[in-house]
């Protein structure tokens, strides 16, 4: 009798325990088909009492919607956020400090995370998230058009001069072919694309009018003035710009590894990827460090469960390249072959380019800094200002924000 009672009590306790452990977390992301969306669905299916609701929010609205939600305390438990936006949240205590949880974790090794992504999610020496992946931009080129223009597809342009010469040789207005497609839009994408050129010329976001940066801007202006890039470069994002490359309407394109899957399916020609051309032979390399970070909001009711998802994410990180063509942000993860030889060839290029990729910020006021840079290059490209004057004005504005 006693035994029966004990068994019943244990069974009851177990049911109660299971009922209590049923936790639902919310995750906001720009795309449910990105790694965190896919992994969150898998994680929900594991019998651990945790379910994650994934909500998709347009990239352009992600920060604004999240800030609004945070202001009214209706924010999600977890978010995947663009890395330059991370500091605004972590510096104000919106994100959970996970430094100690990471130190106690067997799955996440903070020291294995590359320096760039790690600094984007750190504030005051503490960790406020986990990198989803890393990406950077490089130069895609259409090998068939290279051959047709008498250029060697095996030695793509390596310096700015060669790049400009190639763009001139490849542009073919009669057949609706531009030399190059990129994005100089007045949005974070434009900043993302411009900063590497400024950095290769010796500048940086806090020294945007350094000597030489005007040359970068002049190069961009030449591309537009000579009709080597579509005038819509000013209003088009990277995804749409690269779409014109895939359609054969641009012979080169500057974009990141997120394009690889679509390009492999859409592009009806032979293509390759090479490092961004440097200013002069032997000059410094630079590229943009992109992609998102995963973070837990400080006001979540379930920090342990949310952290369990970050651990699950990290345990799956070697899938990030072959399944999503994104570069892992941790050391020691080999880029597994995808079965597509062009994508596999691109893997090595992007991995090498990533070594010279630099952070935007981190700074809590990044959107305003970025805005000043956008105003700078857009005013030059539309002919409203001279390069050096526009960069000086951008520098003044950025100095005001930084101080």
């Amino acid at each position: 009798m006693n035994r029966l009672l004990t068994t019943t009590a244990v069974a009851l306790a177990l049911t109660a325990g299971a009922a209590q452990a049923q936790v639902t977390l919310t995750l906001w992301t720009e795309s449910a088909s990105a790694p965190e969306g896919v992994f969150a669905r898998e994680f929900s299916e594991i019998d651990n009492g945790i379910t994650i609701d994934v909500r998709e929010i347009r990239f352009d609205d992600l920060v604004a919607d999240t800030l609004r939600a945070f202001a009214t305390r209706t924010n999600p438990d977890l978010i995947a956020i663009d890395n330059p936006d991370h500091a605004a949240f972590s510096s104000r205590g919106a994100f959970l400090d996970i430094t100690d949880m990471v130190a106690a974790s067997d799955v996440i090794d903070a020291d294995a995370i590359f320096e760039g992504p790690r600094s984007s999610l750190s504030w005051d020496g503490r960790m406020f998230g986990l990198p989803r992946a890393s990406n950077t931009i490089a130069l895609y080129y259409n090998k068939d058009l290279f051959r047709a223009a008498g250029l060697d597809p095996d030695s793509p342009p390596a310096t700015w001069d060669e790049f400009l010469a190639a763009a001139r040789a490849l542009a073919d207005p009669a057949n609706d072919v531009y030399g190059v497609a990129f994005s100089a839009r007045a949005s974070e994408e434009g900043t993302f694309q411009f900063l590497p050129w400024a950095q290769m010329a010796g500048g940086s976001f806090d020294n945007i009018n350094a000597e030489g940066v005007a040359d970068a801007l002049t190069l961009w202006k030449t591309l537009l003035d000579e009709g080597l890039a579509s005038p819509d470069t000013l209003t088009r994002g990277q995804w749409d710009s690269t779409g014109t490359f895939n359609g054969g309407n641009a012979a080169m394109a500057i974009s990141g590894p997120w394009e690889l899957g679509r390009m492999a399916a859409d592009a009806q020609f032979d293509w390759g990827v090479t490092l961004l051309p440097v200013k002069e032979e032997g000059g410094p390399r630079a590229s943009a460090l992109g992609d998102f970070n995963l973070a837990i909001f400080a006001n979540t009711q379930h920090p342990e469960e949310a952290f369990a998802f970050l651990e699950y994410y990290q345990s799956q990180v070697e899938r990030v390249w072959p399944e999503f063509t994104r570069l892992p942000s941790v050391a020691g993860v080999a880029l597994a072959p995808t079965g597509n030889e062009r994508i596999d060839a691109a893997a090595a290029v992007f991995a090498e380019q990533l070594e010279s990729a630099r952070n935007r910020g981190p700074h809590p006021e990044w959107p305003r800094i970025s805005r000043a840079i956008q105003t700078g290059f857009q005013s030059v490209l539309t002919g409203a200002a001279e390069p050096q004057a526009a960069l000086d004005a951008a520098r003044d504005e950025i100095d005001r924000i930084l101080n």
């Binding site: 202001a71 609706d176 309407n249 539309t382």
Partner: protein, 300 residues
């Protein structure tokens, strides 16, 4: 007590009750936000203090920063051009279409109904459609203009600073025209036919009938349509977001879009509110015209 109940059921008390309900609704959902908007235009509000009710006072600093912004002049001029241009074209085309469909020909009412199809579409959808039409390299509009031989090289409607504002205006005129047409059609239908018959007997030609009968009889409708047109145009946001995002280099930024950019791109709600306050003043003024013209309507 019974008098009060009787008055509530049938009499002045019932009217008062209805008015109080309406006023209460207006005060809570329109009045308070408006007042709060004016208050935060004098405060420093960023996202992390957005949730608190009260923020640090900065006096006229937000106003000074908005007026001294290099973009301010451009935005003011753009807003004037966009509003006046859009309303004038929407009204003229809408009036012309209304007069056309007022002629009795087979299918006139059907065609008029079809015109409304554009107006019932969400602004963002219209914006995306026009975005494709206006695209520089592959846009339909450029293709048509080129094959007609009217232009030699493509016009980059969205990316050319000389065109970007007019590209959005074109889309907005198309979008708002049917609404103007329907309101003006209602006005036309209300004019008694015998007036025209009498004028015709007196020997008035079509032009004279238009100037001496149609226009004067439509005065209140026209006032209302123009006032609503200005208000709707000052609200137009979706088309800017979908077509130019206010660019390139701010060449198509108008007040309402700038206000949104300051608030939700730069997260400076104080400066965003400054622009809203100034727009409220303009809309209040236009609303006065609207109220006056509808008052004349009830007198008729």
């Amino acid at each position: 007590m019974t008098r009060l109940i009787r008055s509530l059921r049938d009499g002045i008390g019932f009217d008062t009750l209805l008015i109080i309900l309406a006023l209460f609704y207006l005060f809570v959902f329109a009045g308070l936000p408006l007042i709060y908007n004016v208050i935060i235009s004098f405060q420093r509000v960023d996202v992390f203090s957005l949730g608190t009710l009260w923020h640090p006072n900065v006096g006229f600093e937000n106003y000074e920063r908005v007026f001294n912004d290099p973009l301010a002049r451009r935005v003011l001029i753009n807003t004037l051009i966009f509003t006046i241009g859009s309303v004038a074209l929407q009204f003229t085309l809408g009036f012309a279409a209304a007069l056309f469909f007022h002629q009795r020909f087979p299918g006139a009412t059907w065609f008029r109904g079809l015109f409304l199809a554009g107006w019932i579409m969400p602004g963002l959808v219209v914006g995306v459609l026009w975005n494709w039409l206006l695209s520089g390299d592959f846009g339909v509009i450029n293709h048509v203009l080129k094959s007609m031989g009217w232009i030699d090289s493509a016009i980059f409607w969205r990316s050319d600073t000389a065109w970007s504002l007019y590209a959005v205006m074109m889309a907005n005129v198309w979008y708002g025209m049917p609404f103007n047409m329907i309101l003006l059609s209602v006005g036309l239908a209300a004019i008694p036919d015998d007036l025209y018959e009498a004028a015709e007997l007196d020997g008035a030609n079509a032009w004279q009938r238009f100037w001496t009968i149609t226009l004067p009889m439509m005065r209140s409708t026209i006032g209302a349509v123009l006032a609503l047109g200005v208000i709707f145009t000052l609200q137009q946001f979706d088309l800017f977001a979908a077509i130019t995002q206010g660019g390139p280099a701010g060449s198509s930024t108008v007040a309402q879009y700038w206000s949104w950019e300051l608030s939700f791109r730069e997260f400076d709600f104080g400066r965003g509110a400054v622009i809203s306050v100034m727009m409220i003043v303009v809309v209040l003024f236009v609303s006065l015209i609207y109220v006056r013209s509808t008052r004349a309507e009830t007198r008729l």
